[in-house]
C-alpha cells in the first residue's frame, strides 16, 4: 500500500513535470525556469501541484461515485438520516493537516532562502560590495538600472552576468510598480516608501534557450500604460559583462556624432532632449534630475521605448507621437514638434549611440 502511494506520487510528479514543461516561451514563462530562484519556485509549484492534484483525485473519485450511485430511484424513498461519523471526520481533518505540513516546511525554508540578501551588507575596503548590486528605479513606464559599484547607469535593458547571484535594491519614483522577470524568478514590488531588496540568478543554459534576452514586466497596476511597461534582461557571460561595464565606463563625455546628419541630430538632441535624457552613464546626477531613461547605449538596446522593435522606422514613429504607443507617458508634449528632416537626423544620432566596439 505504501509502495503504491509512493509510486503514484512519483508518477504524478513526472506527469506534472511533463505537462508543465514546454509551457510558454523560454524568455517569459515561469514554467521554463532559468535560474536558481525560478528553479526553487518551480519545484515548490510542482510539489504543491502534485499534492493538490492528489486531493482533487480523491475528491473526484468520491464525487463521481456519489452522484452515480445515489440518484433518486423511487419518489417515496426516505434515506437513513445520518448525523455524522467521528472517525471519518477526524480522518479528513488530520490528512489535510499532514499534507499541508509537507508543503509548509519547504515553503518556509524557501521563503527565508530567497530573502537572504546578507552579501549586500558586506562592504569591502572601498566601501563597495563584492556581490553585484543593481539599484532598480521604476518610473511611469520605464525602468532605470544603476550599478552602484561600477558607478554606471543604464535604462530599459538590464545587463547581468550569468551564473552568479545578482542583488537588487528596488524602489519607485512615482507610483508603486513591481519588478518581475518570470523566467528568472518571482517578483518584488518597487514601493514609493522604502527600498526592497532581493536577489536573482540567471543561468547560462536558460539564457541560451531564451536567446540571451529575458522579458521583464511591471506587475502592479500603475496607470494606463501599465501593460506596456516592459523591460528586457541581457544575460552575458561574466567576461562579456565586464567588457560591457568597461565600455560603458569609457564614455565620460557625450560621444560626438560622426556623420553630418547625425551631428544635426545631436544638435537637436542637445536643444530639446538632454534636459531629461543623459547620454553619459555616470551616476553623478541626483535621481530627481534623471527624469527620462538614460540613453548612453540606446543604439544597442533591443526595443524602442520598451515595446517597439529597434528600427529607424519605429524610433521615428515613437518620436512623432509617443502618446500613440504608450498612453499617458511623461514624454509627450515635452519637446517641440519635429519636422521630417529633424526626425531623420535625430534618429540617425540615436541609432549611433553605442558603446560596444
Amino acid at each position: 500500500m505504501k509502495m503504491l502511494a509512493k509510486w503514484r506520487l512519483l508518477s504524478l510528479f513526472a506527469m506534472m513535470a511533463l505537462v508543465l514543461s514546454g509551457c510558454g516561451e523560454p524568455f517569459l514563462s515561469t514554467l521554463r525556469p532559468a535560474g536558481e530562484v525560478a528553479q526553487s519556485q518551480y519545484e515548490l509549484m510542482l510539489l504543491s501541484t502534485a499534492i493538490m492534484v492528489g486531493v482533487i483525485a480523491v475528491v473526484t473519485i468520491i464525487f463521481i461515485y456519489v452522484i452515480m450511485k445515489f440518484r433518486r430511484k423511487n419518489d417515496n424513498e426516505i434515506p437513513k438520516q445520518v448525523e455524522g461519523s467521528h472517525k471519518l471526520e477526524i480522518l479528513w481533518t488530520v490528512i489535510p493537516i499532514l499534507l499541508l505540513l509537507i508543503l509548509a516546511v519547504p515553503t518556509v525554508a524557501a521563503t527565508f532562502k530567497l530573502a537572504d540578501v546578507s552579501p549586500m551588507e558586506k562592504k569591502n575596503a572601498d566601501g563597495k560590495t563584492d556581490a553585484l548590486v543593481v539599484n532598480v528605479r521604476a518610473n511611469l513606464y520605464w525602468w532605470e538600472f544603476e550599478y552602484p559599484n561600477e558607478e554606471i547607469i543604464t535604462s530599459q535593458d538590464l545587463v547581468v552576468p550569468t551564473d552568479e547571484k545578482v542583488y537588487f535594491n528596488l524602489k519607485a519614483s512615482d507610483v508603486k510598480h513591481s519588478f518581475w522577470i518570470p523566467s528568472a524568478g518571482g517578483k518584488m514590488d518597487t514601493n514609493t516608501d522604502n527600498v526592497n531588496k532581493f536577489w536573482l540568478e540567471f543561468d547560462s543554459k536558460g539564457a541560451d534557450e531564451a536567446g540571451g534576452l529575458f522579458y521583464g514586466k511591471c506587475a502592479e497596476l500603475c496607470g494606463p500604460s501599465h501593460a506596456l511597461m516592459d523591460f528586457k534582461v541581457k544575460a552575458l557571460s561574466r567576461a562579456e559583462f565586464d567588457q560591457w561595464v568597461a565600455d560603458m565606463k569609457a564614455v565620460e563625455e557625450p560621444v560626438q556624432a560622426e556623420t553630418q546628419t547625425a551631428q544635426q541630430g545631436q544638435e537637436i538632441f542637445n536643444n530639446s532632449c538632454i534636459g531629461c535624457h543623459a547620454v553619459t552613464p555616470a551616476n553623478t546626477a541626483p535621481e530627481a534630475a534623471r527624469v527620462g531613461p538614460n540613453l548612453t547605449n540606446f543604439g544597442e538596446r533591443s526595443r524602442v521605448a520598451g515595446v517597439l522593435d529597434m528600427s529607424e522606422e519605429n524610433i521615428k514613429k515613437w518620436l512623432e507621437d509617443p502618446e500613440a504607443y504608450k498612453p499617458a507617458n511623461k514624454m509627450t508634449g515635452k519637446y517641440p514638434e519635429l519636422s521630417d528632416t529633424e526626425l531623420d537626423a535625430l534618429t540617425e544620432y540615436l541609432m549611433g549611440l553605442k558603446v560596444q566596439k
Partner: protein, 623 residues
Amino acid sequence: MSTYAQKKGFGAVLWDYLTTVDHKKIAILYLIAGGFFFILGGLEALFIRIQLAVPNNDFVSAGFYNEILTMHGTTMIFLAAMPLVFAFMNAVMPLQIGARDVAFPFLNSLGFWLFFFGGVFLNLSWFLGGAPDAGWTSYASLAMASETHGIDFYALGLQISGAGTLIGGINFLVTIVNMRAPGMTYMRMPMFTWATFVTSALILFAFPPLTVGLFLLIFDRMFGSNFFDVANGGNTIIWEHLFWIFGHPEVYILILPAFGIFSEIFAIFSRKRLFGYSSMVFATVLIGFLGFMVWAHHMFTTGLGPIANAIFAVATMAIAVPTGIKIFNWMFTMWGGSIKFTTPMLWAVAFIPSFVAGGVTGVMLASAAADYQYHDSYFVVAHFHYVIVGGVVFALFAGAHLYWPKMFGTMLNETLGKVTFWLFLIGFHLTFFIQHFLGLMGMPRRIFTFLPGQGLETGNLISSIGAIFMAIATIVLLINVIMTQVKNEKVGNDPWGDGRTLEWAIASPPPFYNFKQLPLVRGLDAYWLEKMEGKNGMTPAEPLGDIHMPNNSFIPFVISLGLFIAAFGAMYRAETSWGLLVLILGMAVTLGAMFVRSIKDDHGFHIHKEDLMDDDNDKGVKA
C-alpha cells in the same frame, strides 16, 4: 388587516417598496438592485474579454480599460455579490429561525437604501468625468496620482454603501441572537442561518478598517491631509494593510453564505440531514476566525520580510483544513442519500469540483516563495474567479432557483434553468481554467493589451470565447425570470417537496407577518421532523394572539438620499462655489431625517387576533 392580496396600482406598489420595512420586500429590493449591478459588472467583464481576445487590440483605450477593470471588480464585489447575498439572507434567515422580521426593520430598510445610493453614486462616475481607475484595491500611490474624480466617486460611494452593509450585518447578528423561535437553540439553527451569523460577525469586524482606510483616502484627496503622501511622511503601505484587513475577510463574507446555501441544497435534494452538522458549524466559525489572520498573503511581494511572509503563509494554509472538512461533509451528505438533480442541485454538485479547483490554487498561492511568481499574474485572476464565480456566483444562481418560490410564489422553469446551468458551467471553465496557465506563462494581471509573440494569444482567445457562453447563460436566466413572472403560476408551501427547515412550512410567499403563531422547534430540520411524524405543519408554540408590526417609513430613503447629495458637495467643494452649499444641504437632509425619526414616536400597529383567524389557514402556522 389582510391587505396582502389586494391589487394595487403601480404608484402604490412603488411607494410600498420605497417605504417598506418588511424583510421579504427588502430582500426583493436587494435582489433587483444586486441583479442590475451584476449585469452591469458582467458587461464590463465582456468588454475586458473582447479587448484581450487578440493581441494589440484597440477595442477600448488604455485609460478606459483601467476604468472598466476597476469598476468590474468593485461592482461585482460590493454592488452585486454582497447585495445578492443579502437578498437571500433577508428573504430566508428570519423565516429559518421562525421570526416575524429582523430585529430592526427600520435599519434593514436604511441599510438597503444606503447601499443603493452608494452604488448609484459610484456608477454615476461614468457620466461625470470618468470612473475610478486604480483597481478595486485602489492602492494609495496610484489612487493619489489619479487625476479625475473617479477615485473620489470610489471612496465616497463605497463609504455610503459600506455603512449600509455594516448596519445590515449588525441587524442580522441581533436578530439571530434574540429572535429565534421557541426551541430553536444555536445548534438547531439551519446551516444558512449559521453562515449568516458568522458572516455578520465578519462584517462587523471587517468593515471598520475599510471605513478608516476610505476616510484617510477621502481626507488626503479632498482636504490635502498627508496620510499617504510619502514626501510628507505618509505611508502607502498602510493602505494596503487596511484594505486587506478588510479585503480578506470580505471574501469569506461572500463565500460563507454561499456555503450556507449549498448546505441547504445538499440536504434538501439528498433527502438527508447534513452530514457532520456540528463540525460544519465549527468549520464555519473557524474559517471566520482564521479569515482575519491571513490578510498579508495579498502582500507577499510588498516586502514585509521573510518572517511575516512565513507566518502568513502557514496561517493561510491552515484555512484549507476547515474548508476541506466542509467539502467532505457535503459529499457524505449525498452519500447514501436520494439525490434529485433539480437546477439548484446541479449548481451545488458542480460547485464541488469547481470550488475545490479554486481552493487548491489558494493553497498553492499560500506558499509564499512560490507566490512571488503567481502574485499579480493571471494565475491569481484564475484563482479568485474560481472561488468567487465557482463558489459565490454558483450559489447565487442556485439560491435564486431554490428560493424563487419562497420569494415570489412561482417556480422558475426547470428546463431553462438547466440550460443556464450547462452554458454557464462550460463558459466558466473555458474562460478561467486557461488563465492559470496564462499567468504561469508570464502574463501580468490588469494589462489592457498584450504584444504578439509572447505565447499568450491562444489562451486569451479561448478565455474570451468562454465569456460568451456565460453571457448567453445569463440572458437565458433573464428570459426564464420574465416568462415565470408572466405565467405567474402560484405554488404551495413546500414546492420542492423535500423542504427541511421552517421557511418551507409557511406559504410561498409568506404573509407579511410570516408566522401566525410562532412555531415550536423540536430539533435540527424542524419541518422535516414534523413531516416524518406525519404532520403537515409545525406545532405552534403560542396561542393565537395580536401581532405587533412596524409601520412603513420613508425616512431611510431620505437619510440615504441626503448622504448621496452631500457626497456630490464634498467632491466638488474645492473647485466650485456651490459645492460647500450642496454638502451642507445634503447633511441637513440626512440629519433632519434622523432628527424626525428620533422625536417622532412610531409605535407600529397590531394585527388583531380576529383578523388573523379570517386569513386562510395555510398562510400561517396551522393551529
